[in-house]
Amino acid sequence: MIRSVVISTLLLIACAFAQSAWLGGVAVLGVTPDIGLIVLIWLSYMNGLVAGPVSGFLSGLAEDFLSASPLGFHAFIKTAVSAAAALLHGSFYIDKLLLPVILGFAGTMAKAIAAGALFLLFGSKVHAYSPLDRILWIEAAYNAVLSPLVFLLLGPLGRFLVAERRRA
């Protein structure tokens, strides 16, 4: 369990670095995909209620250091999204296309809702998505499109990243 949490957290932090340093070049209308979020959804779905949220919390905290957000902002969002994904742990069979697309889209929406909840609590000290703004919808679509590919790439890494293999 500890090994998979450590590896998962490092992978998520690497995703945050990659997003900040490299993904500007693949931005669509100035919006970059959240690869870390897709990876986190997969990890939480596969690992359940402990490993996923712990990795989400730690990587979110690291992201807070890289971002202008107040400390705890991304930690809260990533923990909330991973907890939501972990609640679905083992409920569905993950196919190659449809479920990853749905999870990628729904995960982005969950992220927006979590940011909105923080905005209600902390007001203008934090940023939130506006449902009327194109950024949210472009990011959700981008994440949905990339999810099948990211899930596919994560499959072979399962033995390092998944704490308890689901029973057949």
């Binding site: 945050a16 670095f17 100035g30 250091f65 890289l66 400390l71 950024i135």
Partner: protein, 289 residues
């Protein structure tokens, strides 16, 4: 024996996420009331090191691919430049005389040789990992003399434009909030005839126009498409007369006492690679680390 885990174990597992959410909220509560940015600065110092590493790896990969075509171009450029160098060597002699004459004239007119402010050149190494925030990370930190709240400018197509201000400083990296961030405000005025003032704010993305608010209504007849707006420098973090944007659209609403003006940023943020952090003039108070 049952396959189900014990009830206490299940309860323990379910408690993990709420505990972590509570810890996140605690962090947020502390950091939004601001512990003077100490934890953020410490985190930026540690993680900024790795972020620079990632940036360097990406740059190395793209440079390696680009260098093949670059070699061919460089050879042609070399021959062209050798010829030009010869021409400039001759010009240099004439320039030295002109420089001396210029110096003499400046002394007679009482102009100061010193620039109004010092600049620290820095390279952009990363941007905010999330779309919600719009931070820019540069490869210089407090070890290089950078302090919180220092203004940041850039040169592009012959224009000195405002990029934003430093909000967090680590040992070797710093974070800048650009003027297009929705929490950024710059006291500005028109550079041309009217000199009307207003407050320029961003809308969260470099693709959206900047918004100049609180401009007196009587200015609506004087403002024209393409007019340049620059910093005022009054009681401000920013030095005066740094270009902010150009008028794109004027919004006049009858029920408002002021007009809103949309501006195109003076700089194309997608093309900026290098910036200059402006050190305050000697005597002016420096920001905190």
């Amino acid at each position: 024996m049952s396959d189900q885990p014990p009830r206490a174990d299940v309860r323990g597992r379910r408690a993990v996420a709420p505990i972590l959410l509570a810890a996140s909220l605690l962090c947020l509560t502390v950091s939004t009331r601001s512990l003077e940015g100490v934890p953020e600065s410490l985190g930026l110092t540690v993680l900024g090191f790795f972020q620079r590493g990632f940036s360097a790896v990406g740059e190395f990969a793209s440079d390696t691919v680009a260098s093949i075509g670059e070699l061919r171009r460089l050879r042609a450029n070399f021959e062209e430049l050798s010829a030009e160098l010869e021409r400039y060597t001759n010009m240099e002699r004439g320039l030295a005389d002109l420089r001396k004459e210029n110096q003499r004239l400046k002394e007679q007119l009482g102009f100061s040789q010193d620039a109004a402010y010092q600049r620290i050149a820095a390279r952009i190494v990363a941007k905010d990992p999330e779309n919600l925030y719009s931070t820019i990370t540069i490869d210089k930190g407090f070890g290089d003399g950078i302090r919180k709240n220092m203004p940041v400018i850039a040169f592009q197509d012959g224009i000195e434009g405002l990029v934003g201000r430093v909000v967090e400083v680590g040992r070797g990296t710093s974070k800048i909030v650009p003027i297009y961030d929705s929490k950024s405000f710059v006291a500005s005025r028109f550079s041309g005839g009217s000199r009307t003032e207003g407050l320029v704010g961003g809308q969260g993305s470099p693709d959206y126009p900047l918004l100049m608010r609180f401009v007196k209504k009587r200015a609506k007849d004087e403002v024209q498409f393409g007019d340049l707006v620059a910093t005022t420098g009054y009681e401000s973090l920013y030095p005066p007369d740094i270009a902010v944007g150009r008028v794109k659209k004027v919004r006049v609403l009858d029920y408002q006492t002021s007009i809103d003006i949309e501006l195109d940023p003076a700089l194309d943020f997608s093309r900026i690679e290098y910036v200059f952090v402006v050190k305050p003039e000697a005597g002016a108070g420096e920001g905190d680390r």
